[in-house]
């Protein structure tokens, strides 16, 4: 929807605009800066975003500027004409217009036109046009007369069409209007007569134009309040002929024709125009935005102090003279749709048409590759392609498997699957596995009693599945609290979202011990903790925990004392594993999974506090186990690393600190963790202290290799 924003006034200085308004507002080479030429002697450069003038230049008393100043986009210089014939060129550094470059021309200038990407043009009052460079090379050159005697140039505009400059100007003679289109690549000037059609009495008040590929769409606002459109071809078929153009009515009566200062019209984009003038009923002047396509008024703004009937539009700003000050109204038009307006845009997908996912086999690109290429290019997005490109490989064993999946019993499916897996890597292996899983999961959803656990586990272990291929798999496993399948998924899927990881963690922590005992989880990541209850080991471990730092020497605070009072209790608490081995195996699977901190933190907050404490205790236990040996690793085949343990401790504390700190049973744990951090800090500070000694040791080591300044050795080359 098009909208007008809050207006602001550019100049606090009152322009010497008078009742005739300004000469012009033109863009400068910087996006935000505009040249304003008043009707007298002054040119001001404004920076719109700062709402302040950057520079101001005036011609001498007695001289008068006759054409609005423009910027030469190629050089960044400004050009103005005063007293009809004197051309001045200057730049930002110049102070006095009197001292800048001056060229006196042989004919009177109507306008200077400049757009980005080409040299400025000078349009003379007689209708002749010259490039600035060519004109400056010979300022006194003879200027021919193009238009007839009493014709007056009313309006002009300069476009770039396909990189070629095109100039259009409208002249008037005794109430008849003519349009001239000058092409600069072919140097062709075409003349058209504008016909009014039926309504002969109206006077044209204002023009505006836009271009597309073939036509200049010239819009005119007549005194009867209607907007008319005339299409002028850019490339004339026969340039010599004088042709007539009929205008067509775009829409009726937007302003009343009898305003004091006239009305103005400007095109904003292909669908919108801005009209300045009084609406029919009201007497105050108004700026209104109209949609031509729907002939609707989008917005309007009252301008109570009256305007000069002039309107300029650059970038996103509308400029006009409101009262006696230059006013800028930012204009915005966001893309809108009817659906958006009715609030229906969001749910474009109909729940009835459910897309059945199919899988692409990336390893056999033959026909399916072709097929994919024939489809829309937007399907190149990988994720999409996986789902959208339909492909049904018709290989017998897999086909059989798929049909089994849809109908037969669990047992039967298992047998078929085993058969299929025994054949192993057929070219469409990935596809079949994917389709099988989808089929199974769909059936699971449809029939609550159907849960082919063994099949799903076998499929997971094929290493071809990932979370994004079958998100339903983990969802169903979570529903069924199937920790064994969840553990497998955590181990084999590389792309599990943090939300799901956290849901798994919740189940792993909450599931009862006796129900855990029945499951058959993979225990390879858990080491045998039965030997860790021995007391001798414990002593050793406390020492290593301190890492050479003795807490007694440190200023003992209350917690420390409390801890020292009952070291026996502490020992017991820290040595025994707080969870049963099966739960430990599940938790280790969580520790190994990939995650991103930012996404995991919010979900960790949902875990109940006693579970958090349990997990923390387990992590702390793992840490103690880690620090028992010199390599800082845990025994076992695939144990969690120290970094993983520390990261999870930090994450849990970050997410739940306020809760945990209030729990009496977590107090001891927190104190232990606090001591741990403290000891680490002191170890580092000690290390920093003895760094110099280390360096000396290193130097000594190097000197051993150093053979002195001179030696004689034997070299054997072979």
């Amino acid at each position: 929807m098009a909208s007008l924003e809050e207006e602001f006034t550019l100049s606090s200085v009152v322009l010497s605009a008078g009742s005739e308004g300004l000469l012009g507002v033109e863009q400068s080479s910087k996006a935000d800066q505009f040249l304003v030429t008043d009707n007298g002697r002054t040119v001001i450069l404004y920076k719109v975003s700062d709402q302040k003038p950057l520079g101001s230049w005036s011609v001498k008393q007695g001289q008068i500027i006759t054409c609005p100043a423009v910027c030469n986009f190629q050089t960044g210089e400004y050009i103005v004409v005063h007293d009809n014939k004197v051309l001045r060129i200057w730049n930002n550094e110049d102070v006095n217009l009197d001292k800048v470059f001056k060229a006196t021309l042989s004919a009177e200038v109507c306008r200077i036109l400049s757009v980005q990407g080409t040299e400025p043009l000078v349009l003379f009052k007689e209708g002749a046009v010259r490039g600035l460079e060519a004109l400056l090379a010979e300022p006194q050159q003879k200027i021919e007369t193009v238009i007839s005697d009493e014709e007056v140039i009313k309006w002009t505009k300069f476009f770039i069409v396909f990189r070629h400059p095109v100039l259009i100007f409208i002249t008037e003679k005794h109430g008849n209007y003519f349009a001239y289109v000058q092409m600069f690549n072919s140097r062709v000037l075409s003349k058209y007569t504008l016909l009014f059609g039926q309504d002969e009495n109206s006077v044209i008040e204002s023009f505006t134009a836009s271009v597309d590929r073939k036509f200049i769409a010239l819009m005119s606002l007549s005194s009867d309040g209607c907007i008319y459109e005339t299409l002028i071809p850019i490339r004339p078929t026969d340039p010599e002929k004088n042709r007539s153009l009929v205008r067509s009515l775009l829409f009726k009566a937007v302003v009343s024709g009898n305003t004091q200062h006239g009305v103005a019209l400007t095109v904003l984009d292909q669908d919108h125009v801005a009209v300045l003038g009084s609406p029919l009923a009201a007497s105050k002047e108004c700026l209104s935005i109209w949609n031509i396509k729907f002939q609707t008024l989008h917005t309007s703004k009252e301008l109570p102090q009256g305007t000069s009937g002039q309107l300029w539009y650059y970038g996103e700003n509308l400029f006009m003279l409101h009262g006696r000050s230059l006013t800028v109204i930012p204009y915005k038009c966001e893309v809108s749709s009817l659906a958006g307006a009715l609030g229906k845009l969001k749910h474009s997908q109909d729940p009835g048409t459910h897309v059945t996912p199919h899988f692409v086999n990336w390893e056999t690109p033959q026909e399916c590759g072709l097929e994919a290429q024939n489809s829309e290019p937007s399907r190149r997005i990988l994720r999409r392609r996986k789902i959208e490109v339909s492909l049904q490989p018709e290989v017998p064993p897999s086909k059989q498997l798929l049909s089994t999946v849809m109908k037969d019993s669990e047992k039967h499916i298992e047998v078929e699957l085993r058969k299929f897996l025994a054949i192993k890597q057929t070219p469409d292996f990935h596809t079949v596995i994917g389709d099988t899983v989808t089929g199974l999961l769909e059936r699971c959803k449809a029939e609550p009693s159907f849960y082919p656990r063994n099949c799903l586990m076998q499929l997971t272990q094929t290493h071809v599945l990932s979370y994004s291929l079958c998100p339903d798999l983990m969802e169903i496993a979570l529903q069924k609290k199937d920790v064994q399948l969840l553990q497998l998924c955590l181990q084999h899927f590389p792309d599990i979202p943090e939300l799901v990881t956290c849901a798994c963690l919740k189940i792993f922590l909450s599931i009862a011990d006796d129900s855990l005992q029945e499951t058959d989880v993979n225990m390879e990541s858990v080491f045998d903790c039965s030997n860790s209850v021995h007391d001798e080991k414990m002593e050793e471990q406390t020492e290593i925990l301190q890492n050479g730092f003795n807490p007694e020497e440190d200023k003992c605070n209350k917690c420390d004392q409390e801890l020292n009072e009952k070291p026996q209790a502490k020992t017991k608490e820290t040595t025994s594993c707080p969870v049963i081995p099966k739960r430990a195996a599940l938790l280790n699977a969580i520790l190994h999974s990939a995650y991103s901190e930012t996404f995991l933190l919010p979900h960790l907050k949902d875990i109940p506090a006693q579970h958090i404490t349990l997990f923390l205790k387990y992590l702390y236990f793992l840490y103690l186990k880690c620090s028992e040996n010199a390599t800082l690793t845990l025994p076992g085949i695939h144990p969690p690393t120290l970094n993983q343990i520390m990261d999870w401790i930090c994450l849990l504390l970050d997410a739940n600190f306020t809760v945990v700190v209030m729990m009496p049973e977590a107090k001891r744990l927190l104190i232990n963790l606090y001591r741990l951090v403290k000891s680490q800090i002191s170890v580092y500070s000690e290390l920093n202290k003895i760094e110099v000694s280390f360096r000396e040791l290193q130097k000594l080591n190097q000197e051993k290799n150093n053979r002195g300044l001179y030696s004689i050795e034997v070299l054997e080359l072979f």
Binding site: E93, I681, Y684, S685, L687, N688, E691, Q702, N706, R707, G708, L709, Y710, S711, I712, E713, V714, L715, E716, L717, F718
Partner: protein, 563 residues
């Protein structure tokens, strides 16, 4: 190949001077480097980073600034208050001119290359016009309170920025007056330092001035309004240098902690046209102060007190990812500093300002080597070969031109074959009497060198011959010593070029099959010189990097452990 007795010499007490300035020339892809002893070196980045020209320094000529102007003209200025122009053809100083402003701290050539600006101790900024054969004083700008430490031209040439102590001034070149003065915050991490020295400024075409200062800040200023736009605190010590890419989309700064930071102008979000300066990559290739940086279109160049010249290519700017894309660290000069007299077993060491002559001992135990300072040069051979810097070799006739500079050459005693090594690691053998390349050389060129041989990044600095075995050529660079046996087959890319272990239980047949012409030893490094004393005796002069580092001032201490 046999055994050699090697005199392993490590008493060549050579310490390169710290690098003070680098100046990159875009037209010729050359790099000028000046050192604190006044030495100026010119590296040809197109010719495998070869140091092709060299102007010896003098104690009285400490350079503080170095710049290229008018395309190929090189100027330096220093604390003796003189501006020096170098004659790059005759390899001498063309003239020195006193600027009468006291010690000169900074210099910058105008974007058009026709004017030279210097900043002096007395706070004056002086503009010189570069005439075809000299420079001419044009005028002084408004005098400032304190010394001008850095200068930068606006790309349009209308304004300049000058960094001084505690402030940055912007001058209008036309009028010579200061139009803006921007005060730099002295505060450093909440503590007010005594002074904030603006070590470097860069003026961008959109009017932004980037300054680096002694408080560890990189700051962006708007020169039109004189306001601070953005400030990055990047170091706990001074940020001493800045260089901006020609496209103004990236710049590099060097700090006293030895870190080089790369800043890039990147879009705020993808597809957005709004861009901002972001610190993208830190590099820690130096141990000491990075006194100077340069930004070539494809690489970041830095140098400083630790005497290394580091050229770090920007991977995203390189189209071909070959061996040239690797980091270069140039420490030793690409020329021979040592000569040896075989008969008398003498070694002559060349230092910046003196020579040392050492007599080699004959037993292992000898430690009593007396130092003598002598001047002695004794060229031998009936023919004289001369190589200019322009990659051609002149005898009585001219050896066919090759487009890479010569790094070493020697004439074999009996055959009068001239062996030439070029900076792209090619080796040619040219028969002087026959006036054409020898058959062996042609075979080598046809066959091509081993890829590992071509990937070495130091040039060959010395070539010599075995008096008794005419088929042998001895040559070395800084990291390997090689004897080429012309009678053996050449290695191809599949054979093992360098085998550090002696052939053990392999049969003779296998040994003969795997043997190839290049016998390489990498035991001695960095190797500055290696030559035969007699048939069975070699002399090797090494200069371990640790010995050089031990003689450098201590670097800024940084914590190694913890956070």
């Amino acid at each position: 190949m046999g055994e050699f007795k090697v005199h392993r010499v490590r008493f060549f007490n050579y310490v390169p001077s710290a690098i003070r300035c680098v100046a990159y020339n875009n037209h010729s892809n050359r790099l000028a480097v000046s050192r604190t002893d006044g030495t100026v070196e010119i590296y040809n980045l197109s010719a495998n980073y070869f140091q092709e020209k060299f102007f010896p320094g003098h104690e009285s000529r400490a350079t503080e600034a170095l710049c290229w102007a008018e395309g190929q003209r090189l100027f330096s200025a220093g604390l003796n208050g003189e501006i020096i122009e170098y004659d790059l053809q005759a390899l001498k100083i063309k003239y020195a001119m006193d600027a009468f402003g006291g010690p000169i701290w900074s210099m910058a050539a105008s974007p058009s290359g026709s004017q030279l600006l210097i900043g002096c101790e007395d706070g004056s900024v002086k503009l010189f016009q570069i005439t075809p054969d000299k420079i001419q004083f044009e005028r002084n700008f408004d005098r400032q309170k304190s010394r001008i430490l850095s200068l930068s031209w606006h790309p349009s040439g209308t304004h300049i920025a000058a960094g001084s102590i505690d402030y940055i001034s912007v001058f209008d070149v036309k009028s010579g007056s200061a139009v803006r003065k921007m005060i730099v915050d002295r505060q450093y991490m909440g503590v007010s330092k005594r002074k904030c020295i603006v070590w470097g400024v860069a003026f961008l075409s959109d009017g932004t001035i980037i300054s680096v200062d002694s408080a560890g800040k990189v700051q962006f200023w708007d020169s039109a309004t004189g306001t601070l736009v953005k400030s990055h605190l990047i170091a706990n010590a001074d940020v001493q240098s800045i260089a901006v890419a020609n496209q103004e989309d990236s710049f590099v700064v060097g700090t006293a902690e030895g870190t080089v930071f790369h800043f890039q102008l990147v879009p705020v979000t993808s597809n957005s046209s709004e861009k901002q300066w972001v610190r993208t990559k830190p590099f820690q290739h130096h141990t000491h102060d990075v006194r100077t940086v340069a930004h070539s279109p494809t690489s970041l160049i830095s140098g400083g007190t630790d005497t290394h010249l580091v050229i770090r290519p920007l991977m995203e700017k390189l189209e071909v990812k070959n061996y040239d894309a690797a980091l270069r660290k140039i420490t030793f000069p690409h020329r021979r500093l040592i000569s040896c007299s075989r008969k008398r077993q003498l070694l002559l060491f060349q230092f910046a300002h003196h020579l040392e002559l050492w007599r080699l001992g004959s037993t292992v135990a000898t430690g009593t080597v007396e130092a003598m300072c002598l001047l002695a040069v004794s060229p031998d051979g009936n023919w004289l070969a001369a190589s200019g810097t322009s990659a051609g070799v002149h005898l009585h006739c001219t050896v066919p031109a090759y487009n890479f500079p010569v790094t070493a050459m020697a004439i074999a005693p009996n055959t009068n074959n001239l062996v030439i090594a070029h900076s792209d690691q090619q080796v040619f053998e040219y028969s002087i009497p026959d006036k054409h390349y020898t058959d062996w050389s042609r075979t080598v060129q046809k066959h091509g060198f081993h890829h590992l041989w071509l990937q070495r990044d130091t040039p060959i600095t010395h070539i010599s011959f075995h008096p008794k075995r005419p088929m042998h050529i001895l040559l070395h660079d800084a990291y390997m010593f090689c004897i080429i046996d012309k009678s053996l087959p050449l290695p191809n890319d599949k054979t093992l070029l360098y085998n550090p272990f002696p052939p053990t239980n392999e049969s003779d047949v296998v040994q003969r099959r795997t043997a190839h012409a290049f016998k390489i030893s990498k035991i001695y490094k960095p190797l500055l010189f290696m030559d035969l004393l007699d048939e069975r005796t070699l002399v090797a002069v090494e200069r371990p990097l640790d010995d050089i580092i031990a003689q450098l001032p201590p670097p800024i201490k940084k914590k190694k452990f913890g956070t």
